[in-house]
Amino acid sequence: MARSRYHYFPGCKLTPFLPEYDRSTRAVLAALAVDLDDTELNCCGYPVRHNDFTAAMLCGTRVLAMAARKGLPLLTPCKCCYGNLKQADYWMRHNPALRHQINTMLGNEGLNWREDVVVRHLLTALDEDIGRDRLAARVRRPLMGLKVAAHYGCHALRPGDVTQFDNPLAPTIFERVVAVTGAQPVEWPLRLDCCGQPLWEKNNPLALALMRRKLADAHESGAQMMITACTYCQLQLDGVHREHPAPGEAWDDLPVVLVSQLLAVAFGLPGFEMEGVV
């Protein structure tokens, strides 16, 4: 099997707040003969976009320029990071004034934006680069009969002309990848809606309302488990949810699992179990 190599972009929150996503992503990619370059990179710029667009674009473009210097495609497990890296790529292509401004700043440290840098989210890397056939060949413990709700995550999906992730109105990439494990993706109305994380610690009642609405919807649609593929979504739907449970609600116990964990279990990788579910 030919080995492939990416510049790994974990994003700021992954290592300190969601190490299990890092661990499972690395394990799954290693099982698929994917090598990762771990050179330190700065923030993707997504969080600072609330404050300053140019700052967000500088951060994102700097990451692209660092990958360009290495000549490697970028791979991030976080959809918000993916989204902002794609935003940076889009605006650098389309706005000459911004391109000049950012390239001048990058030039101070000998960096330069190039338009040929490939940005991949974990899902697009699995689906497009590695291929579902290779994934299927690696499955040792099929998760037959497990009904899962794939939670898309906004920033990778939309705006579709910028992110080029999948069809922004009717995407199937997440379901395609999940189905490889033998699990059965359910149809659920709110699958493309927001998890509420962007408003966490800014407007908590609203953030919780958005999160709970989704959990209830997934549960009502027959899912036994929700699957995420984004650091922020998982921090919200699992972390914040467990800290602010809704006892008595039927959906309150719905497990929320990362796609990499699901794959690691299906691949039968050592150290990955899903107790009580599989």
């Binding site: 700021c12 929150k13 290592t15 300190p16 707040f17 330190e40 700065n42 923030c43 969080p47 600072v48 976009r49 609330h50 404050n51 300053d52 667009f53 140019t54 700052a55 674009m57 500088l58 951060c59 700097r62 605006w91 706005n95 004034a97 911004l98 000049h100 401004q101 700043m105 101070n108 440290e109 906004c154 920033h155 999906l157 939309r158 705006p159 579709g160 922004p168 109105l169 493309l192 809606d193 927001c194 509420g196 962007p198 408003l199 800014k202 407007n203 609203l206 309302a209 958005l210 609405r213």
Partner: protein
């Protein structure tokens, strides 16, 4: 000697200052936990933690391990950069050994070696070698700080003060030794003291010998015939050799002595030697006095911080110990700038020129906040930097002083909110959208845009093309999940996305900038994706926040504590 009083005074101030600084560790309010524990309780808790650590063999092993590798070996700096490690080791150990061997020679060296004399080898050679090491380290440090063009590395007065003070002490010491080497006055004095002779005839051979072999600058130069020198050599062996090695081994002072030798006479006339003696002594006293009040205090705080880190992260501490540990961290920082080099959000500083985005600079702001020495404007600046931080934790991982910076930032963020300095989402809640509109319009009239940071390259809201296609079909509002979960959108959000777009069409962006809808937008981009007319609705909502930040971040309405 009167100068000794200065030394005692300096030592007393140093001791009192050190106790004061140590006491502050238990007093400074840092984080919510400090509101629940009194200084007395914090002190008791700290003493208990030290006792527990010292009595537990497992922890004692960890302490010893950290002491050898981190404190003594400074491996953490070596990992960062070998040049930096060599520089710091040279300054650190050069200074410490000089302090023991030279400053306190009567108390230390003379007691260890019965034949000690400051002008005898190996002592003279070692002193000069150590001085040379410190000088080399200081020069590397100064050049590095000067030559550094990385925007996120800054040199403050405190950094310069320490280097200049060290440089001045070493330079005055070397110059003093150089003038002593060539001094005929000192020679005459020593002859009287140790040979008990003032007879010119008797000392002429010794003079000749010392002029030839010890480079004393006699005026006029004595005769150099071999017989006289041999006689002088005999006298030297009898009276001087026990305390004097040849000056060539004074590797720092001797070249200097040779350089100034031609000027010996005028230098003696202005009594340079005495001046240098005072300078060297008083500068050393000054360094001692400043120890607790300058960056020099890291000599004490950083080793403690490194050992505390080895024992576990801040979250593993008892609640009453956490503020104390943070205060220790403030003192352990050497402003080396390594954290800012690895900071995830450091590039932002190039666009938003607030130094407190950078952890190495933010720490001083956090210290000011804790010490109550901050103005609303300074606190607001600290808040801007603090809330841009993404808590990636790299500063903590790289900090060579072992400070749990991550924990410190979390604490200062809660302290800032407590003090009424929230993030933009927080301060925008102070007023309704119409009230903000009034403020923004008034400010626009006052400033006419003059004081604002430059307009960004991408500016959608000022471009009528962005909105011309909007037909107010309200698709954006209908797909908005925030509108969907709000029981009463008009009351809770003030306006819907479609209404925001309408204001934009009318070029009334001030009326929308403070609206809850703009700030409660989750940026899910559904509005933009579904817009049948291709209007960049979500990008506009984002930009309205950016505009509010650009125009209001340093406005008096937002910097005043709420």
């Amino acid at each position: 000697m009167r100068l000794t009083y200065f030394a005692y005074l300096a030592a007393a101030i140093c001791l009192a200052g050190t106790l004061y600084r140590l006491g502050r560790w238990c007093v400074l309010p840092l984080g919510t936990e400090s509101r629940q524990s009194t200084p007395a309780r914090r002190l008791a808790s700290a003493v208990r933690a030290v006792a527990v650590a010292l009595l537990d063999p497992r922890r004692l092993w960890i302490i010893l391990h950290a002491l050898v590798l981190d404190v003594i070996g400074q491996i953490h700096i070596l990992r960062q950069s070998p040049l930096r490690w060599a520089m710091h080791m040279a300054i650190c150990y050069g200074t410490l050994l000089l302090l023991l061997l030279h400053t306190f020679d009567e108390q230390v060296t003379a007691r260890l070696f019965s034949d000690y004399a400051s002008t005898l080898n190996p002592f003279m050679f070692l002193r000069n070698l150590l001085g040379l090491l410190v000088a080399a380290g200081v020069i590397v440090a100064l050049v590095r700080r000067r030559g550094d063009r990385v925007p996120q590395r800054m040199t403050r007065r405190a950094d310069r003060l320490l280097l200049i003070l060290l440089a001045a002490i070493i330079a005055s010491g070397a110059a003093l030794e150089a003038t002593q080497i060539i001094s005929p006055t000192l020679f005459d004095q020593m002859v009287v003291d140790y040979m008990g002779s003032g007879d010119p005839e008797e000392i002429a051979p010794l003079k000749a010998y010392w002029a030839a072999r010890f480079d004393v600058a006699f005026m006029p130069p004595p005769a150099t015939d071999p017989a006289l020198l041999e006689q002088g050599g005999q006298l030297h062996a009898d009276y001087c050799a026990a305390c004097h090695s040849r000056p060539a081994s004074a590797v720092l002072a001797y070249p200097l002595a040779l350089a100034i030798k031609p000027l010996a006479a005028p230098l003696a006339r202005i009594e340079l030697e005495t001046g240098l003696w005072y300078a060297h002594y008083l500068l050393s006293c000054l360094a001692l006095t400043l120890l607790p009040f300058s960056k020099l205090f890291h000599l004490l705080a950083t080793p403690i911080s490194l050992i505390v880190r080895a024992l576990g992260p801040a979250q593993s501490d008892r609640l009453s110990n956490r503020p104390t540990r943070r205060a220790l961290g403030l003192d352990a920082c050497t402003h080396c700038g390594i954290c800012s080099r690895h900071c995830s959000v450091a590039p932002i500083f190039q666009v938003i020129p607030n130094r407190e985005i950078l952890p190495s600079e933010k720490l001083a702001g956090a210290a000011r906040l804790a010490n109550g020495r901050t103005t609303p404007r300074m606190a607001a600046g600290l808040a801007e930097g603090s809330f841009i931080c993404t808590a990636c934790g790299r500063c903590t991982r790289w900090c060579p002083s072992g400070i749990d910076l991550q924990d410190l930032w979390a604490a200062s963020k809660t302290d800032l909110i407590q003090a009424g300095h929230p993030d933009p989402h927080g301060w925008i809640r102070r007023h309704t959208a119409p009230h903000w509109a009034e403020i923004l319009v008034a400010r626009g009239r006052e400033a006419q845009g003059a004081q604002l940071p430059p307009r960004p390259a991408v500016c959608l809201t000022d471009n009528p093309d962005t909105f011309w296609a909007c037909v107010q079909c309200s698709t954006c509002t209908n797909v908005c999940p925030v509108v969907a979960v709000s029981p009463d959108p008009q009351r809770e959000l003030e306006m819907t996305p479609q209404q925001v777009m309408n204001l934009m069409r009318l070029q009334l962006k001030e009326a929308a900038m403070g609206a809850r809808m703009v700030w409660d937008c989750v940026t899910c981009y559904k509005c933009q994706e579904h817009c049948p007319q291709g209007v960049r609705v979500a990008d506009v909502l984002y930009e309205l926040r950016n505009e509010a930040c650009r125009r209001l971040t340093s406005d008096e309405e937002t910097i005043k504590p709420s």
